[in-house]
């Protein structure tokens, strides 16, 4: 998977968000403030423009630009959360690419950051979590920034992508403080990430791995329906939040739908 692939993924995500905008907003109307579809559509429209304006060189740069743009254009809860997720996915890919290059070149680059172990949701390595990421974003997203320059030299493996999702998930949990079962996007993102890591370990083909991740995301989103929300706006409703699918979990499913679509096969 190269930069084209990631660009195609984000663009396909943008397309399906636009297509599903009103459904997402309707879900948010039921237990929130009726803007989730509008928010993401505005953000991903800006992402599309940003990507075509600057054509980032590597997979990591594509995702960092995506995340930074979402942070800059969406607002609300989903902007920082999705923005942070993409940014951490991007920095993870970039770091792993640098490691791979370093490995090939035999140089001794620091390898502590980026590789987040297992499927846990601990905070990622220092310097990548939380809000200082925004500062980094400004530097990294621009053309010619130091980090990310090397990553177009290396193909992203399924294991890399799984690690990236793990980093993204961890950052979302850190920033939003949500755990699985709180009826948020985490309820779709966490199982999908686990499925992807599992598939990578099992050596599955990307299409099959993405099928598994999408199925897990869908199941996770569906499983939010009976839950009572404990984070975000829906938590204000108390018991009345039960019986509705979480809009953020629903939009997370679309990320995996798009991933499956661009993988083809």
């Amino acid at each position: 998977m190269n930069a084209q692939f990631f660009t195609a993924w984000v663009e396909e995500t943008a397309r399906t968000i636009t297509a599903d905008r009103d459904r997402l907003t309707a879900l948010d109307a039921a237990i929130g403030d009726a803007d989730h579809g509008t928010n993401l559509d505005r953000g991903f429209t800006a992402v599309r423009e940003a990507l075509s304006a600057s054509s980032p060189a590597g997979p990591g740069a594509v995702l960092i630009l995506t995340g930074t743009t979402l942070i800059r254009k969406v607002g609300g809860a989903s902007g920082p959360l999705y923005g942070t997720a993409y940014r951490h996915m991007g920095t993870t890919l970039t770091a792993r690419a640098a490691q791979a290059v370093a490995g090939r070149a035999g140089t001794g680059l620091d390898s502590t950051s980026g590789a987040v172990p297992g499927t846990g949701i601990e905070a990622p390595g220092p310097g990548t979590a939380g809000f200082t990421g925004t500062a980094g974003a400004r530097d990294e997203a621009g053309p010619g920034g130091a980090p990310g320059d090397g990553d177009h030299m290396v193909m992203v493996t399924l294991a890399d992508l799984a690690a990236a999702f793990e980093a993204g998930l961890a950052a979302v949990c850190e920033l939003g403080g949500a755990a699985e079962g709180d009826k948020t996007m985490v309820d779709a993102l966490a199982p999908a990430t686990r499925a992807l890591a599992e598939a990578a370990r099992a050596g599955l083909k990307p299409e099959d791995a993405f099928d598994a991740a999408l199925a897990a995301a869908r199941a996770g989103a569906r499983a939010t329906i009976p839950l009572q929300a404990r984070k975000g706006r829906a938590s204000y409703l108390g018991e009345r939040s039960a019986g509705h699918e979480d809009p953020g979990a629903a939009s997370t499913v679309l990320l995996f739908t798009a991933l499956r679509t661009v993988a083809g096969g």
Binding site: A34, T38, A77, T132, G176
Partner: protein
């Protein structure tokens, strides 16, 4: 949906354009969506920045001016502003004494302001933050995102603004902001939903004989749906909720606030009931506001916000203020 707008996409910018035309005392950056006082920064004065989703007008932009905010950052409708806006505004209003961010407690607002604050700090702007969370309809527990910020935001902005005007230091300004918040509580009741322009239809549907109790300011459904009742009964529901959380006594500042679609006549009817309730509890509304101040688009309904006064807070409330929506004393 019928609204006086040109398009759902342009509504925030169009609103700001209208404000710019109507209020020459404001300077409005339409591209960045930031509303400033005309001359900034004021050297030695703590800069006050607030912001949040649009659709709550006059909050916040209508409270920019002498004795209140230095800048407001309106987001899209019901969507918090993005960090860029807040960072830019904080830089502009910093007169060397630091900047206070007044943030309503919503996940989105908190995260975006926090991101902005971290970057401001890195860039050398000292930032303090006060979280407003006055809405007793939401239990402040591990099982929620915490109490929402609603009507008390106006009180925090006004009183903190008055103190900042005296040249008080950031720590002191932040302290009074926290104090106002800690002494304030709100509760809201809707007679109708609002309609988010981009959504095009009401966020929830209420039957003709129903009201939604414990609503926020984003058209989120409330805690419960109950049969419609008289102003007297509804005022009592709201005041009981407030009083259960913060027993009312002594001098209080009270606001009966319309949600955007409720005429002043009805708000005065509610205010009469609120004042009677307070008297019953041995409290006195020595200061008050009645009007549409912290709104939720075209929602019909009201919220009531009470703040337990002390001499310092009363003095700061009375201090001159000169903004589009709040103006007295000079």
């Amino acid at each position: 949906m019928k609204k006086l707008i040109n398009s759902a996409e342009s509504v925030v910018t169009d609103t700001l354009a209208g404000m710019a035309e109507a209020h020459p005392d404001l300077r409005i950056d339409l591209a960045q969506k930031i509303v400033y006082r005309r001359s900034l920064p004021t050297p030695g004065k703590v800069g006050l920045v607030s912001g949040g989703g649009s659709g709550h007008e006059p909050l916040h932009a209508g409270f920019v001016g002498h004795g209140m905010l230095d800048a407001a950052c309106p987001g899209e409708v019901f969507t918090s502003p993005v960090p860029d806006q807040i960072i830019e505004a904080s830089h502009r209003v910093d007169g060397g004494a630091g900047v206070l961010h007044i943030v309503k407690n919503y996940t989105g607002d908190v995260m975006n302001f926090q991101m902005a604050a971290e970057l401001c700090a890195e860039e050398g702007v000292e930032v303090g933050t006060v979280l407003v969370n006055d809405d007793v309809a939401v239990k402040d527990s591990l099982y929620t995102a915490g109490r929402r910020g609603t009507g008390a935001t106006l009180f925090v902005e006004k009183i903190t603004g008055a103190l900042a005007e005296t040249g008080a230091a950031l720590g002191e300004v932040a302290r009074i902001a926290g104090q106002v918040n800690a002494r304030s509580r709100s509760f809201g009741i809707a007679l109708s939903s609002c309609t988010v322009p981009a959504a095009g239809k009401p966020t929830f549907e209420l039957g003709d004989g129903e009201v939604e109790v414990g609503i926020g300011i984003h058209g989120e459904p409330g805690r419960a749906r109950v049969p419609a009742a008289s102003a007297r009964e509804l005022a009592r529901v709201a005041m009981d909720a407030v009083n259960d959380d913060l027993p009312l006594s002594g001098d209080v500042l009270v606001m009966v606030n319309g949600m955007g679609g409720t005429p002043l006549m009805e708000l005065y009817v509610v205010f009469a009931e609120v004042a009677a309730y307070l008297r019953e509890k041995g409290a006195t509304a020595t200061r008050s506001l009645v009007g549409n101040y912290v709104t939720s688009l075209d929602m019909q309904g009201f919220s009531v916000t009470v703040c337990l006064l002390n001499d310092e807070l009363t003095r700061l409330w009375d201090a001159p203020v000169q903004t589009p929506a709040l103006r007295w004393g000079r």
